[in-house]
């Protein structure tokens, strides 16, 4: 378990750093999918294999493809200088992020987790399904949350279509021009 944890932690963190420091945008997107795969491995270790399947389907599959489409429409995949991809707040941003990470890690480390014991996750898919539908005791709120998220997804899809649609007869699709 510790070997798998170390491998997955290295994969997640190195890929996450690769997203930030990679000079090629397409490489950033592929590093991001590697990081999501590592998180899916963590979900398997944490007794949530069905959530790991969701993670692979939605993040590694769908979100990465959508982001690659966005890259394809908006820019040429080429290596750029760090001057042009990083704004002027490089070191200030590094200090802020390192401070946030160190503070969170410190707070989580000094907390007393002695009562925590692994193995409470919904390992069975049927258990997760009952939780999501609000049938099992203690999860009644999910009956509402599930519907709210469904409506939110519908609204977001309609909004994405409306925002990205070209007005009929006005302008050209400039992403295709060059």
């Amino acid at each position: 378990m510790t070997i798998a944890f170390g491998f997955l932690a290295g994969m997640v963190l190195v890929s996450a750093l690769g997203v930030v420091v990679s000079r090629n945008v397409v490489h950033s997107a592929l590093f991001m999918s590697g990081s999501f795969l590592g998180v899916a491995g963590f979900f398997v270790m944490l007794n949530a294999p069905s959530l790991a399947a969701f993670q692979v389907l939605i993040y590694v599959g769908a979100v990465t493809v959508v982001i690659l489409f966005g890259i394809m429409f908006t820019q040429r995949p080429q290596v750029r200088h760090y001057r042009t991809i990083i704004n002027r707040q490089f070191w200030a941003g590094l200090c802020v992020a390192a401070g946030v990470g160190a503070f969170l890690s410190y707070v989580l480390w000094i907390e007393d987790w002695s009562s925590a014991q692994a193995g409470n996750g919904p390992r069975e898919v049927a258990q997760l399904g009952r939780d999501m539908l609000g049938v099992s005791p203690g999860s009644e709120i999910f009956a509402l949350l599930f519907q709210v998220v469904s409506v939110l997804l519908l609204v977001a899809i309609v909004a994405a279509i409306v925002v990205s649609r070209r007005k009929v007869g006005t302008g050209v699709d400039r992403g295709v021009e060059e």
Binding site: V20, A48, I67, I85, A116, N120, L128, D131
Partner: protein
């Protein structure tokens, strides 16, 4: 097998504590925040926001597995978070496409038409 090798093997086979997962999630959140602060490309900023969301998701699922009174419900919340993140990325990329059509750039520090 000597006792030292046995203890090393036991340490390698033991399951990691809760803090290990939490700290990986916190560092992942910090890396995503760094990228969202320093990169100029709007698409890369979206990727970094997704990294932050994944760090928080990892924390949620770790709590759901380790805390006895959570009842595993954190996994259900993680599913909801994934759905909301997917909605966010769809709307966000649509906005990026619309901005690119009118401004010919996706660098967030060059889109300054609303600056007072």
């Amino acid at each position: 097998m000597p006792a030292q090798a046995q203890s090393v093997l036991d340490a390698l086979l033991a399951s990691p504590p809760l803090q290990a997962y939490l700290i990986v999630g916190a560092i992942m959140f910090a890396i995503g925040a760094w990228g969202a602060l320093v990169r100029r490309n709007a698409v890369v900023i979206f990727m970094c926001v997704e990294l932050m969301i994944n760090g928080v998701n990892l924390t949620l699922v770790a709590f759901a597995d380790f805390l006895p009174n959570a009842g595993g419900l954190g996994v259900g919340y993680a599913v909801l978070v994934i759905a909301i993140a997917a909605a966010e990325i769809a709307v966000g990329l649509a906005i990026v496409l619309a901005v690119f059509r009118s401004r010919r750039t996706v660098n967030v520090d060059e889109v300054t038409s609303m600056r007072g």
